[in-house]
Symmetry: C2
């Protein structure tokens, strides 16, 4: 019957303008930074100046004497509210404020609370602390064997069965060692025509959300409300409730608009601190970071990847991967990156014999977590540079070499999972076609040389737990969608509203999206890893279908014959004699997948869907300066069927340009653990002059059959290929191979000079 | 299977302490009066000083010149936002600010907006208006034939089919004439032994919520948020959306704690005005009334009831009821009171021949609406005084006379609806037994005389449209209940949480109730007429059952055998490997009933349930002063099975004592349309010295089979019998009959003197 379909469908696949765009550009959108509540105290954090040390004493007396300072709080005060004040999504290793030890420069040691933020900022400078310095370790490979131990005892969160074997492990910086063995790598190496081995490194970088982290906690009657710039309100609620020993429903987490996240605003960042402070002083407490402080809060893993491959008759027969992830002082989600991305370390190639060791390491740097790609860009950087090097050595065209080895539909990936709805080949061929790869390419002469490069990558989805959505259809047919997915700029509000519109047969613009508020919107695991379109999208579709089923039932109960062209408004009016009532639809989606077996690293259903992305570039290298100019960039992805092609396209540009910054210049520089360029004056992110002269974004024809209307996630896919494509193009242009990011002019110039020398 | 029932049940029927009690007594509960938002303007209303007049001019210049005044707004300004600015639940007759005419003293004519409330209050005194005065009408009976016409044309809301015949009717003050004819009254009168006729009157009184009305509108991006002290957030959203021509989902109505309502805070009160002002000036606008201003905003209908009954062999054979309801200048819900209560005007007696005419009248008094009982106390006052007078005339014991005529289970009420789950007889007998009615009663001697009286009444439920509830069970088994029912002191939060607790098998205290917010909580018609326990209670039970069904399904999917003692927390943990996820249950309840036929006034299913209440009193009259002292008061009700006996008991005390004030002294006194006692200094409400020396509240053994766990509403039932019981007791004590409320010492004294004279 068709009573609920008065509108033509076609909401999905339409480039609906962002629902929140006008609100944002007119300055009406709410952000936590703008939020002021009566009685609120401002705070400023006093941070460690040493990378590793035992706290001997903290002197807060001068700060407390400043007029207008309400209180100065240290780690010992926090214990009055929470006796065991350690948090973390994988390990309960991070103290709310430092206790006994500090483990990185910039670690929060004390907090000044004041009615005026400037008073707090002034007073914090009067705090002094004395440390007994300990030997630090900064390098992820050194951390494996270093005498310097960051955490004396490992404290994995008890809830993860696959981390249980680590509980209580002592005197090691290895937080997690993920291992996968498939086939017989040694035999493959022995039988090969050639064996290639390289080591690649990536640097530590920053997420750089332009809205710095901010949280505000308001104590209530036996309850607590936290307004926070977070990508994971449901997680924050549960983790704060755990810390406090409260039921979930006493903790309310509210997230308004978010000014970017990229993985920085996941799990607990400032929330535990403001929660403890608010309960300690029984007043609302707000903490807003500066851009500089973000450098000390969360970052992207530096990494070292040792990769060794055997080739026989042009086919890769074996591959050994050893990946070292520099997790910094606290694990955050690093162990999950190590494992979940680890199992794709051999790349999207069909290799019978594989060995993977992926290590999460503690070091005395600021913590590292997930950053747009969940470790995949670090891996692709290595395996696609390696692939290019092999092809060059074998004098096979790099595209041809990839075609020979690519992981095709139905074939098993390293974990043993057969590939499904993964258009790897289509992505490769799309880029190749776009770039006219087979035609001659002008490599230039004189100081300006040109080269081209290509790279492809893939990623499994990180999908624990579930997503829940509610669709409420009102008496006039307008509706609201309740979900805890955070629209941080990726356009999820609009895409989810399109799913409601398509399913209910109403205009997307007539769907209001209610932003995350754990007292209002149902559970969602978190907004991360390009999971929302698939997971929440499926939940939203189910919720809208549930509402539609009820509207259909209402129509039948009113005796309307099937096919009657009645909209919700008419149905309600007919039922109640007036504009009244509503219909509530609920949808819950639990993905079908199986985590790798902790013992073998294998799984026959390791992910609900695969993300595929690739990039081709044409570049120009100034051999006199080392400067690399991107003449053309082609990004292609498999995102299933795009819900909103325009938003997908901007996701591709955004992801590729973000990765471009990491590739060419972004780098957290250190002097004995102190970041020396923690400001936008010194830490460069891409500007308008760094953009490719020409950028093309392509969505390949594909369908994720298990996705909502055939769609799947796309927020990270265009990051995958950027770095190795550029390195491969530099090699193509000037014959030098850079194995360490970033590919700065200085690095390129030095490599050219070394080659000449 | 029993996996979801780890707790013993027994949440229902337990006197759970109010969930919000601690929050209220510690001063942490939020009220709209406390709400301050940045950029907010305060307002003060300039009101009409004449009861009926044409607006000639309004001079706002002096007010506008006051420093700090932001703007002064009149009705013509409102038209810039809303071209047709008329609202109302039954008639669209009430302008946001007066246009062309004023119709009662105190009607809003202009508003001063200022950053400071004191500036607004000062400036409003400088506004002047010139009126061409028109002849007013104040009395409800005179209004039927008066030349003074309050509204030139009737404007019933187009949505009510039973009001359609009134659209466009001109030059009448009769807003609605409800008519019911059953049997042949004239024939009954002709064949009777005796015919009795009396006229009873009630006075206009005030709801007196101790939190005066207050609303705050905040304009957003193409949206509007209204924080308001309202009993009907869903109605406010729809009516404001209608006025603005917006979809519902652009209007958000938020109701925090409410400091009493009693029917005063229903439908639109200040919301339309603050909404228009906020959109006009694009800033948040708050309007808080004083207690005095409430007298001019909404009140309880004064009424005149002409009742005529025929009796043959001790049985009432016919009854004619003519009821005139003084609706004041704007209809509000008056026409519904006229109709919905009108059809019970013959009382809970088994009478074959009935004629009812119930008239809603416009007059030039402040508007009247629903007040705890929806017109029933006015009717019971008349029919139970009348019953007592008949019994006395016939020299039959008034209890015996009632027993002879009472409407028994299965017998048809006037509308033709057969009585069901209506313990009228049980209520009567409970009071009789408590009062030892058959034993001799000492009537005193000298100046202090004693008497006793009894009265019973009943009420149909006002039940248009629907109620919807959502129950969210979190990862740790704690849960939240989302509903738009307003807890205004009646304890609905606690009762509804008990239904969730009972159904899910968890502690009531573990259920958090989310207060009404139309962006959060689903539709509920309104909180009025004791409907919530039954309607919302049923919706909440369905929602909790829906959640429980899903939890049971989860248990089955995990392979747990039936009977396994798993709680929700364990289920989630088993499913997800950690504390995560949630289950959302939805329940929607549409009552089964049929409005009276507009042509005949009849219906064979006129109400989903009946409320029954009665009161017996023993009083002492000081014949030298006329003062009446209540020695003992016995209230008994049928509320089905009580969900929370303690809350039911306080509802009984509260209702009876409120009605005691209306009975003995509350009265809005007038001088040419001007209320002369519009303050608590002059308008007396019951104080501690007015309370009965002894008060007993009884819940009779009963069950509402269609109600949640056998329960039904009880908020009004103890108002029904209070007034006639006291009048009957005065008659019993000193032999005088008062037919007009209130029964002040002066009135009693004058009646005694007249009798002696």
């Amino acid at each position: 019957m068709n009573v609920m379909r008065p509108m033509p469908a076609g909401q999905v696949g339409r480039s609906v303008p962002r629902l929140e765009a006008r609100e944002k550009v007119t300055g009406r959108a709410d952000y936590v930074h703008n939020l002021v509540v009566p009685g609120m105290l401002y705070t400023k954090v006093f941070r460690s100046t040493v990378p590793h040390g035992r706290i001997v004493s903290i002197d807060t007396s001068a700060a407390e004497a400043v007029e207008g300072v309400y209180r100065v709080v240290t780690g010992e005060d926090i214990r009055k509210v929470v006796p065991e004040p350690y948090y973390g999504p994988a390990f309960h290793d991070q103290p709310v404020l430092a206790l006994d030890k500090v483990r990185h420069v910039g670690e929060p040691v004390a907090v000044v609370l004041a009615e005026d933020p400037y008073v707090a900022a002034e007073a914090v400078q009067l705090i002094t602390a004395e440390y007994e310095e300990l030997e630090p370790v900064f390098d992820e490979v050194e951390a494996v064997t270093s005498r310097a131990v960051v955490h004396e005892v490992l404290k994995p969160a008890g809830t993860f069965p696959d981390l249980k074997h680590l509980v209580g492990r002592r005197d090691t910086n290895v937080a997690l060692d993920y291992q996968l063995r498939r086939g017989d790598v040694d035999a493959a190496f022995a039988a090969a025509d050639r064996v290639f081995e390289h080591e690649f490194r990536t640097q530590q970088t920053m997420h750089t959300p332009l809205e710095p982290m901010v949280s505000l906690a308001i104590p209530g009657h036996e309850s607590l409300t936290i307004h926070t710039a977070s990508q994971s309100p449901s997680f924050v609620r549960i983790e704060i409730a755990r810390l406090l020993g409260w039921p979930e429903n006493r903790v309310r987490v509210v997230v308004p608009h978010l000014g970017g996240g990229f993985g920085a605003k996941l799990y607990i960042k400032l929330e535990a601190l403001v929660a403890c402070l608010a309960l300690l002083v029984r007043r609302p407490v707000k903490l807003s970071l500066t851009m500089e402080e973000q450098f000390y809060t969360i970052s992207k893993h530096a990494s070292t990847f040792r990769i060794r491959s055997s080739v026989k008759d042009g086919k890769i027969t074996g591959r050994r991967c050893e990946v070292f992830w520099n997790g910094g002082a606290y694990a955050d989600i690093g162990p999950r990156v190590t494992q979940k991305s680890g199992f794709t370390a051999p790349g999207p190639y069909d290799i019978d014999n594989v060995s993977i060791d992926s290590y999460a390491l503690y070091t005395n740097r600021p913590p590292a977590g997930a950053l747009r790609g969940f470790g995949i860009p670090q891996l692709v950087w290595a395996y696609e540079s390696h692939t290019d090097l092999i092809a060059r050595e074998l004098e096979i065209d790099p595209v041809e070499f990839r075609r020979n080895n690519i992981l095709r539909e139905g074939r098993e990936q390293a974990t043993g999972t057969a590939m499904k709805d993964a258009a790897i080949e289509a992505v490769l061929e799309d880029i190749v076609a776009r770039m006219d790869w087979s035609k001659p390419f002008d490599r230039g002469t004189g100081p300006l040389r040109r080269g081209r490069g290509i790279a492809i990558g893939f990623k499994a989805s990180i999908s624990p737990t579930t997503s829940v959505a509610i669709v409420n259809v009102y008496g006039d047919g307008s509706s609201s969608l309740y979900l805890s997915t955070v629209d941080m700029g990726q356009g999820s509000d609009t895409a989810m509203a399109q799913i409601v519109g398509e399913t209910l047969g109403i205009e997307t613009e007539n769907v209001k999206v209610i932003h995350p508020d754990t007292d209002v919107t149902p559970y969602d695991m978190a907004t991360l890893g390009s999971r929302s379109t698939f997971h929440m999208g499926n939940a939203v579709k189910l919720a809208a279908q549930h509402a539609r089923d009820q509207l259909d039932a209402l129509a039948r109960s009113l005796g309307l014959p099937p096919g009657t062209n009645y909209g919700p408004k008419d149905l309600f009016k007919k039922k109640y004699g007036m504009q009244a009532g509503n219909i509530v639809g609920v949808g819950s989606y639990i993905p079908d997948y199986k985590s790798p077996d902790p013992a073998t690293g294998l799984s026959d259903n390791v992910t609900p869907f695969w993300m595929i992305g690739g990039t081709g570039v044409e570049i120009e290298v100034d051999t006199e300066t080392g400067h690399v100019r991107i003449l053309r960039m082609v990004n292609a992805v498999d995102c299933g069927r795009p819900l909103n092609p325009k938003i997908v396209e901007t996701q591709l540009s955004g992801a590729a340009l973000m990765q471009l910054g990491f590739t060419l210049f972004e780098n957290m520089e250190y002097d004995n653990g102190q970041v020396t360029n923690a400001s936008f004056a010194d830490y460069k992110i891409p500007g308008i002059h760094d953009l490719p002269a020409r950028i093309e974004n392509d969505i390949v024809e594909a369908e994720q059959k298990s996705g909502p209307y055939g769609a799947k996630g796309v927020g990270e896919s265009a990051t995958f290929g950027v770095s190795p494509a550029i390195a491969n193009a530099i090699h193509d242009a000037v014959g030098v191979r850079l194995t360490e990011m970033p590919l700065t002019p200085e690095a390129v110039f030095r490599a050219i000079r070394a080659q000449k020398g």
